[in-house]
Every structure is written in structure tokens, then in C-alpha cells.
């Protein structure tokens, strides 16, 4: 594998010796664009949101570095300008990301449009602010980097920058941070229920892409000797996205391949053929239709067939044992006259109940009684219309899911919620990191070796969890139930909410799940709240039963008390599989 990656590096370094200065100029320029495209790929391919205005950061970096280079200064003065050319676009990108991504999960399309609009705005400003940017004519008189006076020499600087960026990005993608971005792309909501503030993860990825664009722009300024408003404009922004798509948005080198290939194709065609842009457009359409992973994916497939595994680094062994958290004191949960309406529909109509003892609590009731909705308001998935919810005597009425998770509320969903394109092992990693992974550890490889005490227990019960390389999306619904259950437990919450943990399980599997819940409730000491229709489960497990009907609590008590209640008999008789 190492041998294979050396070949393109040697080839790139050899260019100035083999070809002419013009080729070194062209290739240098396309590599700079490729570096911006790598940032787009990080956001788009890895984290699942598409920035459409990346030229804004590229141009910003170019203008800042250009301003620094106009006075023909020495290295000592240039370096601060270069630092600014990276930091300012990064901070700007972070701010945009943090603002746009803050509240809602489905903000992707808005984000794309906002970035496009900002790029257009940047173009207008660069055009009109003559005193700062040189306006339409651009910022001129930009000198080269000190001591680097030919395109061949600058080309080596660019190659070095691309190499450093590629190595750093490669590390970043393999780090927990990279895996968290994949998880955001796969199932952002689930990640929030593990206590991760996903808007900040996305904003950070966007900031990194902004920094890359800024760095490319900073090198573009001495490369071109002029920076015009086109460098921030939407035309370049769109081209950058096309290069990323054609080269491949999922890999590390694909975007570079895209920028270089299209760059040379366009340059060759431009001189020969009037409608050259049509050819580029056809290439783009062809790749989108027939090669969605981009040209880069052809290379990685080829290497895989030749026996080179690009993800050759196997999963780390789980060698760092993590002890179970101390037994939490019973977290008291109170619903006080909670109402939820969606449009005209009243889903909860004055639900009052309190869970003030540990143990296993079961919520039963007819379909549509509001059982899942009660968990939804408790974890911030559904907003309250009126009433309040208290956790440990503190109101948590307008809590957000990541905050609920950080306060110790863990949740398994009715329809199992997992990360389908990640492996089972990676799914478990994310759960293990829940409430444990501090921001500074996101770039360390150590979290991959964390092995919580509960993991052995869970792998012993659910054997498929140990088959770590399997994609979680290929699991059956029942196995997903078990995985979702295991993940919820691995986060070690104080309050474990299980929404129909036995749905879709066969009779023996249900029995196995009942055993698992009973044993793990005892082992962890957490308070369990379970929604279940299968009376066999309720009878075996419940210390306390709540019966809900039409958005309210009908009765609560022990199983016997509930069973004897006439009202309950009228609305809900229960049964087993």
C-alpha cells in the first residue's frame, strides 16, 4: 500500500523536471483548486451537507495574502498574513455553520443556498469596494513569495502544502472526529440522543473546509499575481463543486484528481473547441449518472481488486478497560399536566405522572395513547404545548435532545435507530463515546480502544455484535433492535427509555431480551422505563406499571393492581406473542 501511494507523489514531484514551466503553472493552479475541493468533500461526502459557496473563503484567503504580498515583504511579515488568510475564512465558516445548523436537523438545503448567496454577496462586495479590493480590476501588484521566483519553485511549495493537508485530512478522517461526521451524515438525530451537539460538529467540519480554501487562496495570490472578484464568485464556487463530484466526494484524493483532470481537459478543449464547456458538462452528467462515487472511486476499486485495502488500518483492539459508572442516585422524573398538540390533534392531554423510584417501570396502553409521545417530550424530540417536566426537581421543559442525553437520559427508539452505513463496531464506538468523549479527545485514536465493562456482557448476549465488520444496514430489523438496545446501554444513562424493545423479535428472542433487560437493570442500577405491548414482558419485568389512555395517565400501580382495575380492563386487555 505504501508503495502504491509513493507513485503519484513521485510523479507529481517530477513534473517540473519533465515538463515545461507552463505545465507546472497549470498543475499548481489545479492542485490549489483540488485542495479547496478536498474541503468540500469533507463536508459533502463525509458529513452530508453541501457547501455551494466555497470560493468565498478561497477569495478571502487570496485577498488577505495578496494584501500582505503587495509590499514585497520578507517571510517574517508574510507569515502573519498567511495565518490570517487561513484563520479568518475558518472562523467565518464556523460562524455561518454554527448559526445555520444550530436548531434543526433538516437545514441542509438552506445551508447550501445560504452559502451560495454569501458567495454572490462576496462577489458584489469585492467588485464595489475599490478602496480595499481594487474593485473590478482586482488587487494587483502582488509579488511572489520571497525567494520563490519561478512557477516551478512555487509548484514545489504547493505540492508540499497539498501533501501536508492530505496527510492531516487522512488522519482527521480516521480519528473519532471523522467517524462522528460520518455518523452525522447517516443519522444525525440518533447522534444527538448520544449527547453530541451535531451542529458544532458540522460547523467544525465547515470551518476546516474554510481553512483549506483560505490556504489555497493564500497560495493562489502569489501564483497569479492578481486577485479579482471572480476568486470569490459563485462561478468558481460551482466549478469547485463539479470538480469534487467528478473526482469523488468520498475519498481523500478524488477531489484533487477531479480538479486536475477537468482542469487539463478544459484547458485542452478551450483552444480547440468553441463549445468546450458543453463537453465538461457532459462529463459531469456522465459521472453523476454512472459513477456516483466519482473517478476517484474507480481507482480505489481497482486497488481493492489488486489486493490493496485502502482502509487497511483494522479496528483497534479494545484494550483500555472502562469501569462502570457509580450507581446513580434515583433520578426523579415528573410530568406535570403535560399537553402536546400537533396542529389540531391533541396527542397528550394533561399527562401527570412521576417516576420516583428506581427499578423497571412499564408504560402500557392502546395504540395512540401517547406512550411514545411521552418519551418524545421528555427527551426534547417533541415540544410541549403546556405543562412542565421536572428531572431531579429541575424543570427541563424546553430541553434539546443532546442536552437530555448529557443529563443521563438514554433512549432506544420504537423503530430501531442506528447508523446504517457504518459497521456494527463503529455503531458501538459511537455509543461508547456518548458522554465520555471530550472535544479534545476527538482527534486522539485512544477512544477506539475503550472497552466498557458492559460491552463484554452485551456481546455475550447478542453474538452478532462481535462480528464487528458487518455494515449495520445489513442487519435484520430484530438485530437492529438489539443493536439499538446495546448502544443505549453502552452510553450508561441513569434513565434508560426503551420503546418496544421486543417488537419484531421471535418468541425465544423475546425471552432473551427479557433476561438481558432484567440483568442489565440490576447490573447498572439505572431506572428503566419500558413501553411494551407484550404482557409477558411487562409481567416478568415491571416493578411498576403505568397505563396510558387518550393522552393521559389512566392508572398506575403494581401489575396486580393494574390488572384488577375496571377501567383498564375496559380499554386494554393485553396479550402475549
Amino acid at each position: 500500500m505504501r508503495g502504491v501511494s509513493v507513485i503519484p507523489i513521485v510523479a507529481l514531484v517530477a513534473v517540473p523536471f519533465v515538463w515545461d514551466s507552463f505545465t507546472a503553472y497549470q498543475l499548481g493552479l489545479y492542485l490549489l483548486y483540488g485542495m479547496v475541493a478536498q474541503g468540500i468533500a469533507l463536508c459533502w461526502g463525509r458529513a452530508g451537507f453541501l457547501p455551494l459557496g466555497q470560493a468565498l473563503f478561497f477569495g478571502l484567503g487570496a485577498y488577505i495574502a495578496g494584501a500582505g504580498l503587495r509590499s514585497d515583504p520578507g517571510w517574517l511579515l508574510i507569515l502573519p498574513f498567511f495565518a490570517l488568510a487561513i484563520i479568518v475564512p475558518a472562523l467565518f465558516a464556523w460562524l455561518i455553520g454554527a448559526l445555520v445548523f444550530d436548531r434543526q436537523i433538516g437545514s441542509g438545503p438552506y445551508f447550501s443556498l445560504i452559502t451560495l448567496a454569501l458567495s454572490m454577496l462576496g462577489f458584489q462586495l469585492a467588485n464595489s469596494m475599490d478602496w480595499l479590493t481594487g474593485g473590478f480590476n482586482g488587487l494587483t501588484g502582488i509579488s511572489g513569495l520571497p525567494g520563490i521566483d519561478t512557477y516551478e519553485h512555487l509548484y514545489f511549495v504547493i505540492i508540499a502544502a497539498v501533501a501536508v493537508v492530505t496527510i492531516l485530512l487522512g488522519y482527521l478522517l480516521r480519528s473519532p472526529f471523522g467517524q462522528l461526521l460520518e455518523a452525522v451524515r447517516d443519522n444525525e438525530e440518533r447522534l444527538q440522543f448520544f449527547g453530541f451537539k451535531t451542529s458544532l460538529l458540522k460547523a467544525s467540519a465547515f470551518a476546516i473546509s474554510g481553512a483549506l480554501a483560505g490556504l489555497s487562496g493564500a497560495l493562489y495570490a502569489p501564483h497569479q499575481g492578481i486577485v479579482t472578484p471572480q476568486a470569490v464568485g459563485f462561478l468558481l464556487s460551482a466549478e469547485l463543486v463539479i470538480w469534487t463530484a467528478v473526482g469523488g466526494r468520498f475519498g481523500l484524493l478524488g477531489p484533487i484528481v477531479g480538479a486536475v483532470l477537468i482542469g487539463f481537459l478544459a484547458s485542452g478543449l478551450r483552444d480547440m473547441f468553441q463549445y468546450w464547456e458543453v463537453v465538461v458538462a457532459l462529463v459531469f452528467i456522465g459521472v453523476v449518472l454512472y459513477l456516483p462515487g466519482g473517478i476517484g472511486s474507480l481507482f480505489s476499486d481497482l486497488l481493492k481488486r489488486l489486493g490493496f485495502n485502502l482502509s487497511a488500518v483494522g479496528p483497534a483492539s479494545r484494550s483500555v478497560k472502562l469501569n462502570m459508572r457509580d450507581l446513580p442516585e434515583t433520578p426523579v422524573v415528573e410530568f406535570d399536566d403535560v399537553a402536546v398538540t400537533m396542529g389540531q390533534v391533541a396527542i397528550l392531554r394533561g399527562l401527570s405522572l412521576s417516576i420516583d423510584e428506581g427499578g423497571i417501570h412499564c408504560i402500557i396502553g392502546p395504540n395512540g395513547a401517547g406512550k411514545t409521545s411521552a418519551l418524545n417530550v421528555l427527551t426534547g424530540k417533541l415540544p410541549l404545548t403546556s405543562g412542565r417536566i421536572l428531572l431531579r426537581q429541575k424543570p427541563i421543559t424546553s430541553i434539546r435532545p443532546f442536552r437530555a442525553a448529557r443529563m443521563g437520559i438514554g433512549r432506544k427508539f420504537q423503530v430501531p435507530s442506528i447508523f446504517p452505513s457504518l459497521s456494527v463496531r463503529q455503531n458501538l464506538d459511537l455509543a461508547i463515546w456518548s458522554n465520555r468523549l471530550r472535544p479534545e479527545a476527538m482527534l486522539s485514536m485512544i477512544p477506539y480502544s475503550w472497552s466498557p465493562e458492559l460491552l463484554d456482557d452485551l456481546e455475550g448476549r447478542f453474538g452478532f455484535l462481535a462480528k464487528s465488520g458487518m455494515a449495520a444496514g445489513s442487519l435484520s430489523v430484530g438485530q437492529r433492535q438489539m443493536l439499538d438496545f446495546a448502544m443505549t446501554l453502552l452510553a450508561e444513562p441513569d434513565i434508560v427509555l426503551l420503546d418496544e424493545p421486543c417488537a419484531g423479535l421471535s418468541t425465544p428472542e423475546t425471552a432473551m431480551m427479557i433476561d438481558a433487560i432484567a440483568a442489565l437493570a440490576k447490573k447498572t442500577g439505572a431506572t428503566f422505563v419500558i413501553i411494551e405491548h407484550d404482557m409477558q414482558v411487562v409481567e416478568r419485568l415491571s416493578d411498576h406499571v403505568y397505563v396510558m389512555h387518550q393522552g393521559r395517565l389512566l392508572v398506575s400501580g403494581t401489575m396486580e393492581q393494574v390488572r384488577a382495575d375496571k377501567e383498564v380492563q375496559r380499554v386494554y386487555s393485553g396479550g402475549t406473542k
Binding site: P366, S506, P508, Y572, K577
Partner: protein, 232 residues
């Protein structure tokens, strides 16, 4: 047609890419009969349903519907060929109302064909103007079940219809399946809930590792027989 079967699978085999999930499954479903397929998780039951309904192409074997070979027929052509399907997941359109969900495949948009089902599941009628996304998990399952039953297809494939459904409603589902059987409609039901299987099955198959490992037609003993053979 080799027999009186409405739906016939002959050595059906298929899976995902190079992984074979369903292997050599054969069955014959006659008019007015119900075949239930059960088995532990991950053995290929849903994959079988996807193969029968054209969501997945079989790698070997033949599927005939009313004596015509429908192997490889695209998924969207199965309904007009007479085969209905209520899948396990992704069963309702959250943004549409309950009524729109129930009638979107009909030309007349009328709920008249649901009158019998609404008698059993009045909640669905009460909520017909409401967005389906606001229904609970069990109610969505009931909606999907009713939609499949109200269609005019002769053969219906139901994938885990009772998941998350309260026991009273499961009994009503069984009742409506039995009524539909009397009208000559046939069902393949993938189900873990043996109470439903006991109530409706003419034939029960146990699937393991993609193969049919046991079958019984004796309703009185099937719970015991299937449970004993269903190893984890």
C-alpha cells in the same frame, strides 16, 4: 400453471450482492389460503418478501403469479399484476393525511371500501384528516395493514404486520384476514407473533439461514412445534 396455486415459488434464491440470504425456498399458495413464515431474526424473511414483491431480483428460481412467470418483474408492476404488499418498514407517507395514505392508489379517492375495516379500527376513521406522521407507531402499522387489505389484489404479502400493535388490534387483524380468506384472497404473512399465526395460518413455514427447515399445517400444535425448533 402446474397447480391451482395463485402464487408459486420454485427454488427461490436471492440476496444482496454476493451474499445469498434466501436459498431454495418453494411454496404454493392457493386461493383462500394463508401461509405464515416465521423464524428468528436475520434469517432472510424480509428478504424473501422483497424477492416475491420485486424489490429485489432473485439470483435463481421462479416466481409465478396466476400461472404467469413474474420473476424479475419490477416492483411497481406487481400491484396491477394482483399482488399487494405491506412492508415491514417505511409504511406510511408522513406528510400526507391518513385519508390520502389510504386512498392514494385508488382512482376515486373514496373511503367507502374501508367501511368494514373502520368498524374494527375506528381510530383510523377518527383520524382520517390528520397527518399520518402524527400517528403512533402501532397506528401506522394498522394503517398499512388496512391499506393492503382494502386493495383489490388477490394475493397479499404482509411483513410483520403486528409489530408494535396492541393485542386487541392483533385479534382484529386476524379476524379481518379470515374474512378476506373467505372471499378467496390469499396471504403470505411474515410474522413473529405466533398468536396471529395460530389464528390464521393454513400452512406455517419455519425459516432458518435462508432455508425452509420445517413446515406444518396443524394449527393446534404449531406454537409448540415451531417454538421448539426456533433456536436462538
Amino acid at each position: 400453471m402446474t397447480s391451482g396455486a395463485l402464487l408459486e415459488l420454485r427454488s427461490l434464491t436471492g440476496g444482496y450482492g454476493e451474499i445469498t440470504v434466501v436459498e431454495d425456498i418453494s411454496l404454493e399458495l392457493e386461493a383462500g389460503k394463508v401461509t405464515c413464515i416465521t423464524g428468528r431474526n436475520g434469517v432472510g424473511k424480509t428478504t424473501l418478501a422483497r424477492l416475491i414483491t420485486g424489490s429485489l431480483k432473485p439470483s435463481a428460481g421462479i416466481i409465478t403469479l396466476f400461472g404467469h412467470d413474474v420473476t424479475g418483474l419490477p416492483a411497481h408492476e406487481h400491484r396491477s399484476a394482483g399482488l399487494g404488499y405491506a412492508p415491514q418498514e417505511g409504511i406510511v407517507f408522513d406528510g400526507l393525511t391518513v385519508k390520502e395514505n389510504l386512498t392514494l392508489h385508488q382512482t376515486d379517492r373514496s373511503l367507502s371500501r374501508y367501511s368494514g375495516l373502520f368498524g374494527m379500527f375506528p381510530r383510523l376513521k377518527e383520524r382520517h384528516g390528520q397527518r399520518a406522521g402524527t400517528l403512533s407507531g402501532g397506528e401506522k402499522k394498522i394503517l398499512s395493514f388496512c391499506r393492503a387489505l382494502a386493495e383489490d389484489t388477490s394475493v397479499v404479502i404482509l411483513d410483520e404486520p403486528t409489530e408494535g400493535v396492541q393485542p386487541e388490534n392483533i385479534a382484529l387483524m386476524a379476524k379481518s384476514i379470515i374474512e378476506a380468506k373467505k372471499l378467496g384472497r390469499s396471504f403470505v404473512i411474515i410474522e413473529q407473533n405466533l398468536t396471529l399465526v395460530e389464528a390464521v395460518a393454513d400452512d406455517a413455514l419455519l425459516v432458518d439461514h435462508g432455508r425452509c427447515v420445517y413446515s406444518t399445517t396443524n394449527r393446534a400444535t404449531l406454537r409448540r412445534d415451531l417454538s421448539a425448533r426456533m433456536q436462538i
